[in-house]
């Protein structure tokens, strides 16, 4: 290990000498040494941040105003990409609608399931850890192609879902081929994978003091009152965190749509990220795709900002303790 001399500290007795100037100089030298050590340690990230994040972002922003197919030089087209997106490209608007619908339905559903099951698992009964593992297992394979391929068959015409429905006397449904149903196969897939928010809820539930419930029960509060007056308010910071994270990831769904439905039928599952991928890496319209990426970035930022803005009304933080 090379030990950088910069990070070594001025010797202890020099500081103790107590002579004003030496003291100040020593403090400065120490601050400088600390700064240097700090930047040496975060150096790798800093290089990556400039080279692999900021610079690409700048290039992407530039490309958004150009027409670029990689082979020939980018041609400046001003706002044309954006104009085309919002005024002419109906598939683009379709992808926006699909994605917003998905986020608005799948994210709340996933969180409701996550909270409900976290509450069921918030007990000391025997075997709970087995259930917790079972509920979480689908989430660890969440993004895999294998699961997406499997999902395609579960919802296939001959698949399991239709087989179960047949027992109930419901006729076969072409889940993946019917424009009314296709997106629901992806929403179900999303809801099935509620494991991460569930574990976060569970950790939050464990923080709520049992005494609160006991006191409320003595005061005659029923189960519903306890849920709405104690659990939900005290859990609201966790809920907020989950909501933000799930919304952000919801906007970027790609693999599932790519494999399970491929955007079809009739573009009813043409997710934003999927359409962007096709424009960029199948049609090589890098300018147009960059413009799309920036709109996505702004949408995510806006959405997060709105969530943060409104959070003051429903997120309760306990009196902060100094960290």
């Amino acid at each position: 290990m090379n030990r950088a001399p910069a990070s070594s500290l001025p010797s202890e007795d020099l500081l103790r000498a107590g002579i004003g100037e030496a003291h100040v100089a020593g403090r400065r030298a120490r601050a400088r040494a600390r700064n240097l050590a700090g930047y040496v340690f975060i150096g790798p990230w800093l290089i990556g941040f400039f080279g692999l994040t900021l610079l690409p972002m700048a290039v992407s922003l530039y490309l958004a105003f150009t027409d670029y197919d990689i082979l020939t030089a980018p041609r400046w087209v001003g706002l044309e990409n954006f104009h085309r997106m919002f005024m002419q490209d109906r598939r683009y608007l379709q992808s926006v609608t699909v994605t917003l619908f998905y986020v608005a339905v799948a994210v709340p559903l996933r969180l409701v399931f996550a909270l409900g099951l976290a509450m069921l698992l918030n007990t000391n009964r025997r075997g709970v850890s087995v259930y917790r593992a079972a509920y979480y297992a689908p989430s660890i394979v969440a993004g895999s192609v294998a699961v997406a391929l499997m999902w395609r068959q579960v919802f296939g015409t001959q698949g399991v879902v239709n087989a179960v429905l047949a027992i109930l006397g419901v006729p076969r449904v072409s889940w993946l081929g019917d424009p009314d149903f296709a997106i629901w196969t992806l929403i179900t897939l999303a809801v099935w994978q509620f494991g991460s928010p569930m574990l976060i809820f569970l950790a939050g539930l464990r923080q709520i003091p049992v005494e609160l419930y006991e006191a409320a029960a003595i005061d005659g509060a029923g189960a519903w009152a306890r849920f709405f007056r104690i659990t939900l308010p005290l859990l609201s910071p966790v809920t907020f965190f989950n909501l933000v994270m799930q919304t952000i990831t919801g906007f970027m769904v790609f693999t599932q749509a790519f494999i399970v439905t491929g955007g079809g039928p009739m573009d009813t599952t043409l997710f934003y990220a999927l359409y962007l991928y096709r424009r960029a890496f199948e049609s090589f319209q890098m300018g147009y795709a960059s413009a799309m990426a920036w709109v996505l970035l702004l949408a995510v930022a806006l959405c997060t900002a709105v969530l943060f803005k409104t959070s003051g009304r429903w997120v309760f933080y306990e009196a902060k303790e100094g960290r």
Partner: protein, 296 residues
């Protein structure tokens, strides 16, 4: 739950109370167990179907026990497509997940120490920048990165996949930082007084203590690279370079709707490492998610 004991209005005799408690436990396990079964069913179904013969897969679609157990699907599936077997795809995935994970975890640990323990000028600003990158859609940077790597002639190599992982990844930096914050500062201070440099403190004191966080980060990194689809899809266009995720997709397209048994077999096989890691390291996973709230 914890409040149930207080619910009883009258005081029933001990035996009826016990019987009621037993009934409640039974209802609980039936209900929660049933949901658990539904949750696991698709995965079990995938594994069961991978051992069914071609006539059985769709004829008896719901069953979880193959009537005629056969490993044939695995044999045909392993042969792959275009003359490339799944051995190649596994090798590629191992390179990506292995090198990528070691690089990401080690660099993230170094950066996390810098952010968590050294009070340097500009720390708050850079930390905020790092948190913001967590929200950044990958689409914004993958296009220019693709252009760079194309110009450098590095498409169809592993460099575009591996290189970014050497510069620390925000998720892991944040997670390891949270863990370092839990270590008493007195330890570093004592070492500092003893003349230990920042590097010494990091390598001799912090690194051994954050082992659990490193394991958690390693597991997540392994999962995310193993299952990553977009990056290999963009950068690896030659079948002999395919990772498993891209190979599975091509395999499913190539064999069309004809040989689902083989597709199931290879899909199931690709999940085996994931589940093995899950079973062995479950404790670390749960802790990692609960303490930092990872994505999922």
């Amino acid at each position: 739950m914890s409040t149930q004991a207080l619910d009883g209005t009258r005081s029933p005799t001990r035996s009826t109370r016990r019987r009621r408690e037993l009934g409640r436990t039974l209802v609980y396990h039936l209900g929660v167990g049933a949901v658990g079964f539904v949750m696991l069913y698709p995965i079990l179904w995938l594994f069961a179907s991978s051992f069914k013969g071609p006539s059985e897969v769709w004829a008896d679609v719901m069953s979880l026990v193959p009537r005629h157990f056969t490993p044939q699907n695995y044999v045909t599936g392993w042969a792959g497509f275009g003359g490339i077997t799944f051995a190649t795809f596994y090798k590629n995935s191992l390179i990506y997940a292995g090198v990528g994970t070691v690089a990401a975890v080690m660099s993230s640990a170094v950066v996390a120490y810098g952010f968590a323990r050294i009070r340097f000028a500009g720390r708050g600003f850079w930390f905020t920048c790092m948190l913001l990158t967590l929200m950044l859609p990958v689409q914004v940077i993958i296009i220019p990165q693709y252009v760079f790597f194309t110009k450098l002639g590095l498409v169809n190599t592993f460099y575009p996949l591996l290189l970014p992982r050497f510069f620390g990844m925000a998720f892991f930096i944040f997670m390891i930082m949270q863990f370092i914050r839990g270590i008493p500062r007195e330890l570093d201070e004592a070492a500092e007084i003893d003349g230990c440099s920042q590097f010494g403190i990091f390598f001799r004191i912090i690194l051994p203590l954050i082992r659990p966080a490193l394991i958690t980060a390693t597991i997540f990194s392994f999962y995310w690279t193993w299952e990553d689809f977009l990056t290999p899809l963009v950068y690896l266009n030659e079948p002999k370079l395919y990772t498993i995720s891209v190979a599975l997709r091509s395999f499913a397209d190539a064999s069309g709707a004809t040989d689902w048994g083989a597709i199931f077999a290879m899909s199931a096989l690709s999940l085996v490492p994931v589940f093995v890691v899950f079973v062995v390291f479950q404790r670390y996973l749960v802790q990692g998610i609960s303490t930092t709230g990872m994505k999922g």
